[in-house]
Amino acid sequence: MTDEFESLDADLQKVIAEARRPVPVDADARTRLLRALRAEPVPSRQPTVLAWLSRPQHIELRPMVSAALAAGLVGIGILSGLAINRDGRLATEQRPAVAVGQPQLPDSLAANAVKFVIAAPQASAVSLVGDFNRWDPVATPMMSQGQGGLWTVVIPLRPGIHTYSFVVDGHFVSDPAAPIAPDDGFGHRNSVVYVRKPSL
């Protein structure tokens, strides 16, 4: 840092030295902030998605509700399997319209290798961040594949629930194809991927 600063010309060093000086702090503003903080409930450790999912959940369904739910799930399975577009193609042949990230398990790799895909044709840099890389935007860059603007990366993940997001040209983008986790506290909703234990 010092070397970089020293390498700048004298005029820029003057500007930087001046800009580094502390700005006067408004005591009233600080008082208003502390008053606003006191009006807030005291925060407490929030349970993570993983903790919630790993806790036994008691779900009680009456027989009629169970039957209706089962019929509905079967219906969804049939409809999603046979959905046909207006042009006659199966829905599964359709290319993603905007941005679709989809964790997949490629056969050629280990069972806990997860492939993340996002379509971002205009992007110049895309990376993957999540609890598995301490949300470091430089740790897991994604590679552009071909002409379609698809960016992919395959990473090994331990079995369990992982929260993640894409970083497209510096902007956090959640995965529309994945379940969404609660707000991360920065006004952004992350995505969730569940990695199964490898079958023996």
């Binding site: 800009a19 700005v23 840099a125 301490r134 860059p141 040209d169 920065f186």
Partner: protein, 178 residues
């Protein structure tokens, strides 16, 4: 006492422990917000929103990096939101300040000891360039820390800092030659 220890005390019910964190970071965050937003009113709004948001989200802090980096990430986002919401006003501000620079405040013999003029020089930078420049040279973050704070890749940040320096240099030459 470490930042993490203060966070733990807050999460154990000691709300006043957060005041220690406010005291520790308020001045530094205030400088960043003023340099980024160009005026103290907006900077105060950004600071209020940042510390309130950090307080409300403190329960999620353990998954993040150092507290200062986590707080900075919130601050950077708040400044971006404010700048974007008030972009029209900022454009007016910059235009008016540029007009002022063309008049009496442009002093060829300026030694650099003029906080207001520095603020005006920074305000003429594109916000993304200004953000990268301020984080690098005013807040003295490493490129890796900047990347973690902004979500922008290191190479892109280096390019932004270089462009910011080029433009500041050109702006400075313009001031000196007027």
């Amino acid at each position: 006492m470490s930042d993490a220890a203060f966070v733990q005390r807050v999460l154990n019910g000691d709300a006043d422990a957060f005041t220690q964190l406010v005291d520790r970071y308020y001045e530094r965050c205030s400088r960043f917000a003023v340099r980024m937003l160009g005026n103290r009113d907006d900077a105060e709004d950004a600071l209020q929103a940042t510390f309130l948001r950090a307080y409300r989200s403190l329960g999620k802090y353990q998954e993040r990096d150092r507290f200062s980096a986590w707080l900075y990430r919130i601050l950077v986002n708040q400044c971006r939101s404010l700048a974007s919401r008030r972009s029209q006003r900022e454009r007016v501000f910059v235009r008016e300040e540029a007009a002022l620079l063309n008049a009496a405040d442009r002093r060829p013999g300026w030694t650099g000891e003029d906080e207001e003029l520095v603020q005006r020089i920074l305000a003429e930078l594109d916000p993304l360039l200004r953000e990268a420049f301020v984080l690098k040279y005013i807040e003295e973050l490493s490129y890796e820390e900047m990347s973690a704070t902004t979500g922008v890749g290191v190479s892109a940040l280096k390019m932004r800092v270089k462009r910011a320096c080029d433009r500041l240099r050109a702006g400075w030459e313009h001031i000196k030659n007027d």
